[in-house]
């Protein structure tokens, strides 16, 4: 059983009570809500005659259903309009701050909470979205919940939870040029599997992790859930503090020093005990890309689609299903696979540094004929920062569309979607069958720089070749 880890410390601090079923009542420090998973929770609250217990610890935005072309109201899609109108009404009724369209602060919930300084070390963070694990980048314990649990947090600012085990993912070395946090996490999931993290929180640690920026750490923790781990985290350090200082909801003045002292005390100590540990060498990781229908079906861009013989016997039925669905032949190189659509954005890779990395590849080049390529900033703040340094111009000059912030083509809840058998190079997080809006559409997950390279070449390409030219 783990002891002395950040997870143990934060868990102990937030324990409210032991519940009759043996689970723990855990206090939630920050509750993030959005338009998809909250309306039924508010309705249930009303049915029970309850109010929101801590509206000041509840923060809302709209992201999944917003169009990324025109965001004028009412939306063309009446269902989308109804969802946003319902969120607006619920927030107004219960006194919850909504960072809405045009506020300057709207965006994907896992992009805006960090950039506003809402997410801080030592917090418990819950949201009705599985990628809430993103916030663990700050040394928070952050996890996705379902709508009944959203209701519970609204009503009680707490949840009935079971404690997870803690696995330390220790990463030595450093990522090579052209290799990013996305490649690292795809490599981890490829190695440990999509079920490997079930029952665990992942602590990411080691020299390669300490060298990551906050935005890279967010990419890493974002996809912990794709490895089965409901939460992933990185111990807070100077990188964390430097990121937070001066942000709108971060502590200021003399409170800042007290905050840093407390945050520093939370990191897993040298005597911390983990339930499990796995080691990786960042230096050995190539740009990594998925070829199949789960995020665990990944390979280096210089590798071939694994054959059945190269596949664990347990995983062979899934591999056969993936060959059929993706129409990829085992034993053939993934590089050179033609793509139709290139999407840069999402809560995984829609931050400024992601757009900078993609723009560095796109600059002075042009999207290949017949390719639809578009860039969706993760938030209004990301869009403004990118435009201030001219990234929008770089992208549009290269033939990419520059869009308004939202979840876009990561999932099919807005007008951005694949058509028919189209295959996408996507900086998002899930390559499940049908995920991007066509029941037969296909997704190749990769880093934003790799998506840009695919857009330029019209096919899967090792971005390192474009960076060295």
């Amino acid at each position: 059983m783990s002891a002395g880890t950040l997870y143990d410390k934060v868990w102990a601090l937030h324990q409210v009570a032991e519940l009759p079923g043996g689970s723990t009542q855990l206090f939630i420090g920050l509750h993030l809500i959005h338009e998809v998973t909250s309306p039924q929770a508010f309705a249930a609250l009303k049915d029970l005659g309850l109010s929101v217990r801590h509206p000041e610890s509840t923060v809302a935005t709209v992201d999944h259903i917003v169009p990324t072309t025109s965001q004028a109201r009412p939306f063309a899609d009446p269902l989308a309009e109804e969802m946003l109108a319902t969120l607006e009404a619920n927030c107004a009724e219960h006194g919850i701050t909504l960072h809405g369209l045009g506020s300057g602060r709207q965006g994907i919930v896992h992009v805006i909470a960090p950039e506003l300084g809402l997410t801080q070390p030592g917090m418990t963070v819950a949201c009705g979205d599985s990628h809430t694990s993103t916030h663990g980048a700050f040394g928070a314990i952050a996890f996705g919940i379902g709508t009944s649990q959203v209701r519970d947090v609204l009503a009680s600012q707490s949840l009935a939870m079971g404690k997870l085990m803690v696995r330390r993912i220790w990463v030595d070395g450093q990522l090579q040029s052209g290799v990013y946090a996305k490649d690292l996490v795809l490599h981890v999931i490829r190695t440990l599997g999509v079920k490997g993290g079930v029952g665990y929180a992942y602590e990411f640690a080691g020299p390669a992790i300490e060298a990551l920026s906050m935005e890279e750490r967010m990419t890493l923790c974002n996809m912990a859930i794709e490895g089965g781990a409901r939460c992933g985290y990185v111990n807070p350090d100077q990188t964390t503090f430097d990121y937070l200082q001066g942000r709108p909801f971060a502590p200021g003045g003399e409170a800042w020093d007290r905050a840093v002292a407390w945050w520093s005390s939370l990191a897993s100590g040298p005597d911390a005990v983990f339930d499990d540990e796995v080691r990786f060498d960042a230096s050995a990781i190539a740009p990594t890309i998925t070829w199949g229908i789960t995020p665990g079906q990944g390979i280096g861009v210089d590798e071939t689609v694994p054959t059945l013989e190269q596949t664990d016997p347990d995983e062979r039925p899934l591999a056969e299903e993936a060959y059929r669905y993706m129409d990829l032949q085992p034993g053939t190189p993934i590089a050179g696979t033609p793509v139709d659509v290139c999407f840069i954005g999402s809560c995984t890779n829609g931050r400024l540094s992601d757009l900078q990395a993609a723009a560095a590849v796109a600059k002075g080049r042009h999207v290949a004929p017949g390719i639809k390529a578009f860039v969706v900033p993760g938030s209004e703040q990301v869009a403004a920062a990118a435009e201030a340094e001219g990234l929008d111009q770089v992208f549009t000059a290269a033939g990419f569309e520059w869009r308004e912030p939202g979840c876009s083509m990561c999932l099919a809840m807005n007008p951005d979607r694949l058509e028919g058998r189209q295959i996408s190079a996507s900086s998002s997080n899930r390559n499940f069958k049908g995920r991007q809006g066509s029941a037969t559409g296909r997704t190749l997950l990769m880093s934003p720089a790799m998506v840009a390279a695919a857009a330029i070449a019209g096919k899967v390409t090792d971005v390192r070749q474009l960076l060295t030219v």
């Binding site: 601090l13 009570a17 519940l19 009759p20 079923g21 009542q25 206090f27 420090g29 998809v36 998973t37 039924q40 309705a43 029970l48 309850l50 801590h54 610890s57 269902l79 989308a80 969802m83 319902t86 030592g122 009705g128 979205d129 599985s130 809430t132 996705g144 919940i145 379902g146 709508t147 009944s148 649990q149 519970d152 009503a155 707490s158 949840l159 999509v194 079920k195 029952g199 089965g228 409901r230 502590p251 409170a255 007290r258 905050a259 407390w262 789960t294 665990g296 039925p317 899934l318 299903e321 999932l411 099919a412 809840m413 899930r430 499940f432 069958k433 049908g434 995920r435 809006g437 029941a439």
Partner: protein, 208 residues
């Protein structure tokens, strides 16, 4: 069609079974995202597995189990490993529940899905790989067989056989006693909630 939605103590679930084979069946497959454009869960039942069902409608291996006449009205879903992975959408168990499912037995479950099921009063019990294959084979061989899932005894019986299953003590007690709906339990500790909030540095010491 089906029995009422879960309410109160759930000592057992009885009904016919439907087998949906495969590992890592994600919640995008259980309920594709386009069906999430709603402000109530009411209409989700018919959309369970919508894309998988369409894909299999005219396929040699089809139709999908949810479309086979003998499985209409089934209450127990039999699955394999890591069922319900991916998105946290409660729309997935809601769709299954509204289609008629009242219990799920599988080799393993993704955590958020498992918690969402528990919050709806849908027991998710586990069985080892070989045992699960045997259960699925027995159910597939006799689609009309009525099975009984005994929550307290952690067992499934039907088609003349009985199999031991696993369910952690906490969920077992919550389901057996009807305390699976957590809201009232959580609200019962108001003073403890305030005491916890009062000791959290980020809510107190360095609050602006």
């Amino acid at each position: 069609m089906a029995t009422p939605f879960p309410f109160g103590p759930i000592p057992a679930v009885t009904g016919t079974a439907v087998v949906v084979r495969g590992d890592d069946i994600d919640t995008d497959r259980i309920i594709p995202a386009r069906f999430l454009k709603c402000v109530t869960f009411e209409a989700l039942g018919p959309a369970a597995f919508a894309d998988d069902r369409a894909e299999l409608a005219d396929a040699p291996a089809g139709p999908h189990p949810f479309d086979r006449p003998e499985h209409q009205g089934a209450a127990i879903l039999l699955v394999n490993r890591n069922f319900g992975c991916g998105s946290s959408r409660e729309h997935a168990p809601q769709a299954l529940m509204r289609w008629g499912i009242r219990a799920v037995v599988g080799e393993s479950f993704a955590e958020i899905f498992y918690g969402n099921c528990l919050a709806l009063g849908i027991p998710c019990l586990t069985a080892g790989h070989d045992l699960m294959l045997a259960i699925q084979a027995a159910a597939a061989a006799d689609p009309a067989a009525v099975f009984t899932l005994d929550v307290a005894a952690q067992a499934l019986s039907g088609a003349g056989q009985s199999w031991p299953l696993e369910l952690a003590a906490g969920p077992r007690q919550m389901l057996s006693t009807g305390q699976w709906d957590a809201t009232s339990q959580l609200l019962a500790h108001g003073a403890d909630l305030e005491a916890t909030a009062a000791r959290l540095p980020y809510l107190v010491t360095f609050a602006a």
